[in-house]
């Protein structure tokens, strides 16, 4: 979110309009993600009832005035569960983006600067990347138990290699720059070089990468819940709702449909935002290095 604010403040007074004209993807994506965020924050005030409340009379009820998105297998309100589900998905997306980027940044910087560590770390990263991320997460979760926290950690670990490689390549490029070489020769403390020269240059690509990680984490969480290796079944996550609706899909498709739409909508928003950010940053990033 801080990204959009910096962009807005840098632009002239007519900035918002120009942003929309030049990067409609970014604006549309940001609005879509914003509305998902709003739904997550304002969930209790959006006409929802307790997402866990069971009402046997409303089992498999079709969508209507009473239950907007219908009822599920045990008569819980699919609308309320879908709205509350946005909290889980966004928490996973944000959590994985923050943890994955931070750990990947540490690994990438270490690799970029210390060559003997680089040999070991990059081999480990190659190995990690060869393991399909869903399966890695499945293994981790089956060993640690299903919980929101474990799901976030498991997906984050699978994301580390991509971030680490990105950061490493930026560091390796920057190390050859005269101003960084000069700083090293002048005896500038390593931390200062990192803070002043390295980190600012990783910011733009990492921000774009973060949106892609966010999107893929939301999808991965849904897939994990769908195959029974995600958040505990009682949690109203989109993957769980869809997974429960699976068995009755041909008679009550609404249970799968609405959370499916919410899921696709949110991920689409984040992806559009990422593509927009890439368009905004890319030229400047390229010219800078």
């Amino acid at each position: 979110m801080s990204a959009s604010t910096t962009i807005l403040t840098q632009a002239p007074p007519t900035g918002l309009w120009r942003l929309w004209k030049r990067h409609p993807n970014f604006v549309i994506g940001a609005m879509m993600l914003g509305s998902a965020l709003l739904a997550a924050i304002a969930a209790p005030w959006l006409g929802t009832i307790d997402p866990q409340m069971i009402a046997p009379f409303n089992r498999l009820e079709a969508p209507g005035a009473n239950f907007w998105f219908g009822g599920d297998l045990v008569g819980r309100d699919v609308y309320s569960r879908t709205i509350y589900g946005s909290r889980i998905s966004l928490a996973v997306g944000l959590g994985v983006a923050v943890i994955g980027i931070s750990l990947g940044l540490v690994v990438g910087i270490l690799s970029g600067f210390v060559s003997w560590v680089d040999q070991i770390l990059m081999r480990v990263m190659d190995g990690l990347m060869a393991i399909p991320s869903i399966l890695l997460a499945v293994a981790l979760i089956s060993l640690t138990g299903a919980s929101l926290k474990n799901v976030i950690i498991a997906i984050s670990i699978a994301e580390i290699p991509r971030v680490a490689r990105l950061v490493r390549s930026v560091v390796l490029q920057l190390k050859e720059r005269p101003y960084v070489e000069a700083a090293i020769t002048a005896g500038t403390p390593f931390i200062w070089i990192l803070w002043r020269h390295i980190l600012p240059n990783t910011l733009a690509p990492l921000l774009v990468q973060a949106t892609y990680i966010f999107a893929s984490a939301v999808l991965t969480e849904a897939i994990l819940s769908f195959i029974g290796a995600g958040t505990p079944p009682s949690t109203p996550s989109w993957g769980n709702i869809i997974s429960e609706g699976r068995t009755v899909f041909s008679i009550a498709p609404h249970i799968v449909l609405f959370p499916g739409i919410a899921l696709s909508f949110t991920v689409l928003g984040v992806n559009l935002m990422g593509d927009g950010l890439r368009d905004i940053f890319d030229p400047r990033y390229v010219s800078r290095t």
Partner: protein
């Protein structure tokens, strides 16, 4: 040529070794007591202890790793806790549907994505390009199971053209086999087409801006000939590379698609193993899938020479 291919082949050994170490170490590196988690909530202390011995967690790490890796190298992936049968046997039984689904989706993905990407690049900025790229972004965003359910609702439930779910082995006739394979392969193919289409477009735009393309057009070659013979062939290396990378996505997709369509393949085996907390099976499936991924990417690396004579192995 041969020497370099062999060298490239040898380079995959450390990667596979690291994969094996990671997969094995997970049992030891995860916080908490994996035996207690795997035994489930109703397990008694004795149950947990028995599982600990079965998994070899009572032995020192290196001893157990030595035994395990020795077995793996001889094709022994351990024994399923649930069915007490060798994991390798369980995997081999489930291989056919997964291979069929993977190959069919790959064919569908490539035959949608490459023409789409080429046309989008040729008419970059135009209507076809915009529509194609919107579909590509959608492909990144719609989870494969949502698309599967939409296709089931339309083609199986409403139009009744295709079966809702299930799998028929190829030995039972090619007709029923294909009929059951179409929906899962199309859902998975469409999702995977997104990434390939995007890379095809980006690479083709770059190639189409080169001088020799203008020269080829200027000397009067047809658009079709220039696009396919001159441009696509030169754009092939990045496209083929991304097909290799997308193989990882395909594997995740297979697990999900097999669940939706009730296909008795490796994905279904994985999901059953999750529900039964059958860790040796999960471990075995990860190892097999990762090895396949590494081998596929090795083959792709070796294929570069076919497209670009400058790359020689």
């Amino acid at each position: 040529m041969l020497v370099l291919s062999l060298r490239r082949l040898l380079a995959t050994i450390p990667v596979m070794a690291i994969v094996a170490i990671i997969v094995f170490s997970l049992l030891y590196l995860t916080p908490g007591d994996p035996a207690a988690v795997l035994a489930g909530e109703q397990a008694t202390a004795a149950d947990i202890e028995r599982l600990r011995v079965t998994l070899g967690l009572d032995q020192p790490f290196l001893v157990r790793f030595g035994q395990w890796i020795g077995g793996v190298l001889q094709g022994d992936l351990g024994t399923s806790i649930f069915s007490q049968r060798p994991v390798m046997e369980l995997i081999v039984q489930r291989l056919e549907p997964t291979i069929a689904l993977t190959i069919a989706s790959l064919i569908i993905a490539v035959s949608i994505a490459v023409p789409l990407g080429v046309i989008a690049a040729w008419r970059a900025g135009g209507l076809v390009d915009r529509v194609a790229m919107s579909f590509a972004v959608l492909g990144f965003s719609v989870p494969v199971f949502v698309l599967s359910y939409i296709l089931i609702a339309v083609f199986a439930v409403n139009l009744k053209l295709l079966p809702v779910q299930g799998y028929v082995p190829i030995a039972y006739g090619i007709g029923p086999f294909l009929k059951h394979l179409i929906l899962p392969a199309v859902s998975l193919g469409i999702i995977n087409a997104a990434l390939i289409a995007r890379i095809t477009r980006t690479t083709m735009i770059e190639v189409l801006n080169q001088d020799y393309i203008r020269a080829a057009r200027a000397k009067g070659l047809s658009v079709r000939r220039v696009l396919i013979r001159h441009a696509l062939k030169n754009a092939a290396v990045p496209i083929v590379t991304v097909i290799g990378i997308s193989f990882a996505l395909l594997i995740s997709g297979v697990v999900v698609t097999e669940t939706v369509f009730n296909i008795p393949g490796l994905g279904r085996l994985t999901v059953d193993a999750i529900l039964r907390r059958d860790y040796p099976v999960i471990q075995g499936v990860i190892l097999i899938f990762s090895a396949t991924y590494v081998v596929v990417n090795l083959l792709i690396d070796l294929s570069y020479g076919l497209f670009d004579p400058r790359i020689k192995y």
